[in-house]
Amino acid sequence: MNVQNTPEKYEGKHTADATTVEEGLAIQEEQAKYDDDFATETAMSNTLLTPRFYTTDFDELDAIDVSPVRGEWDRLIAQMEADPNKGHFKKNDDWDTVDWENMEPQLKKEFIDFLISSCTAEFSGCVLYKEMKRRGNNEDITRLFQLMARDEARHAGFINDALREAGLRVNLGFLTQKKKYTYFRPKFIYYATYLSEKIGYARYITIFRHLQENPQHRFHPIFKWFEEWCNDEFSHGEAFALLMKTDPKLTKGKNVLWIKFFLTAVYSTMYVRDHQRPAFHKALGVDPDWYAHEVFTKTSKLSEQIFPITLDIEHPRWQPGLEKMQKANADLAQAKEDGRFFAKLGAQARAVSAFVSLLLIPAKKHQVPAQTRLEPAY
């Protein structure tokens, strides 16, 4: 085993090596101190990270030619390589002490769920991007994925530190478990990750701006780091937008239906998940309906850079559709818990029908600009 940054291990003598009683006691005392530290470490609850493993069509990735967007591409890569956020993810005096002990229990649960889910997502992103970097032979593409993997690992490390403060320790033991690799087509990876990065930006910046105005609701210092954090998400989204721009087919014809599907799925999933965390939003002083509308508005505006359609979130069927979906999802969980088969079936049917109804709302069409790149402006 090759350990870098050798840890402070107890490497003193064993009591059996002691030649006098005093020495034996001294060794015992030293050993006890080490055991104490060790106990504190291991007493922390273990949280097993469970990222998924994917493969894709690496030949298709290699075949990408960024020359149609070369100018914009090179500027973006140069900006990412300059790494303006490098010094940002450090704890400084702005990191206030968190009173985990006295945090309201439900809020604590929901906030820890937030930290663990975010950490896993960053971590999975890192695994996926690193895999694409390693398997690819196209230098433009591998460089981009290397840079994105760096950012995700940095974010994961930062969240991990907040988790440690809360007494939670991530366990990376998943690596030795048996794992199956699933497969995603490259274009689906573009649609899903592009949207995920952009909606992530919109989510973080909306909370950041809200807390700038209402600092009394900032119940944890991590929110102070959201601004630069989401700028990383923003540039990752830009990279995927440029990737899609290299092949006009990706945003035309029947692929527009896929785009609509992804927009609807991502927006409605976000709505449902946010409404399942009432204590978190209450503590932030944020109404989840207002928040969802804000985030969708920003994401739609941004996604006009590459998608020829946006969802009509002002349509009379939009909000009721989301509410139906959320209700059906809650009923489904309840029915599962109670073991009521027909109630479960009914809730599933209602969830599907709500989703289809959202999907059938006519989309707004518009002209995609010739220049793709945007700067974070919210």
Binding site: M1, N2, V3, Q4, N5, P7, R52, T55, F89, Q106, K109, E110, D113, F114, I116, S117, C119, A121, F123, S124, G125, C126, V127, L128, K130, R150, E152, A153, R154, A156, G157, F158, I159, N160, R164, L172, F174, L175, T176, K178, K179, K180, Y181, T182, Y183, F184, R185, F188, A192, T193, L195, S196, I199, A265, V266, T269, M270, R273, D274, R277
Partner: protein, 98 residues
């Protein structure tokens, strides 16, 4: 590779785990150039690898790759896309109540 039969191979690999503040990541690299295809399963042998906080641990291990059958590979390619929403980040787990 048979239509229905799985093949099993062993490959030396290097596992790297970074448990540092600056970077939390973990990767497995096959040292004999083995390539993973859709539906394949990978098991790294040996005990759990734990990196104490603040360290990068890199360890050479042996891995078993259980190759998917032709049919399974095709199936994974056709159906894998259904799970794509996993790539999206929603800040919260899917648990309805905590």
């Amino acid at each position: 590779m048979g239509l229905l039969t799985k093949e099993i191979e062993r490959a030396p690999c290097t596992v790297e785990i970074s448990h540092k503040f600056e970077s939390l990541h973990a990767h497995v690299r096959f040292n004999n150039g083995a390539v993973i295809y859709p539906g394949d399963e990978v098991q790294v042998h040996g005990g759990e690898i734990m990196a104490p906080f603040g360290e990068i641990v890199s360890e050479d291990r042996e891995a078993t790759i259980i190759r998917a059958s032709k049919l399974e590979r095709l199936w994974t390619r056709l159906t894998g896309d259904f799970e794509i929403m996993e790539l999206c980040e929603f800040s919260f787990s899917e648990e309805v109540t905590l």
